[in-house]
Symmetry: C2
Subunit: 169 residues, 2 copies
Amino acid sequence: MGLQFEEDEFLACCGSTKFAKEMAKASPFSSLDEAVTAAREIWFNQVDVNAWLQAFSAHPQIGHSSSSSNATSAQWSKGEQATALATATNSSLQELSEWNAKYRQKFGFIFLICASGKSTDGILAELKKRYPNRPIAEFEIAAQEQMKITELRLVKLFSTKENVTSTCN
Amino acid sequence: MGLQFEEDEFLACCGSTKFAKEMAKASPFSSLDEAVTAAREIWFNQVDVNAWLQAFSAHPQIGHSSSSSNATSAQWSKGEQATALATATNSSLQELSEWNAKYRQKFGFIFLICASGKSTDGILAELKKRYPNRPIAEFEIAAQEQMKITELRLVKLFSTKENVTSTCN
């Protein structure tokens, strides 16, 4: 007997509908570890490149607030960027915004980074370091960052459910 | 002084509008070699993953005739598939069509192969071999196949222009 989840809950972890469907099919999961293993397999080996692009487009530009229609995703995104926002100055936010635009122009999708615990300067340095990459290399790096974000969100999703379950017991 | 080309001529070589624009910007080319070197640099290092997907979608499914709006591209595609069509049987075409559908379902784009000189059985064997690949690996292989097709088409484009030039002299 494991924890059962809805497609929408997985969609809050990763904005690809294919990913969310496959995760819902693979659930219930008996543990968080089992869910993370399934998520990695689905994300890296099963969903196609269009699913990656769809998931990327569900994120707000880093330094901006989320416009996601998924309320949970928007709320989590805000939390993940908390350190960046706390360490931001007007000029660093301006520079980040300019580099974001430059990145999007080159790669055709937004700059994606697992921002939890990272300062604005740290994020900006990472963006500048990744910018010279070949588009296909950067595409795969962005997918790895998405997976890191998904894993952190799965942890949150499980802790919410476990709390609910223990409250009910 | 080199040969001057229009964007549309490059679009017949590779159906990405970004690629065609960049090639037109980089021309005139003093030789075919120079054009091929520029094309590789633009295709692998400059255009983004959306441009790759756009180029893939300009091809007919292998074993089918082209629906490309670019007449030159449609004609070249027919020539490239001549060996495959000459060696095809009803049952091999049927099997190819089924595997094409399976491939598209998994990867989100059509199976792309530089078909020049390849039999239907050879193409089918290659499709089955590539099918188990991870989506991101297959995406890059498809881009390499697209580049082979582009190179063959650049050869044709140059030979047409050189004939015209020598006729005019």
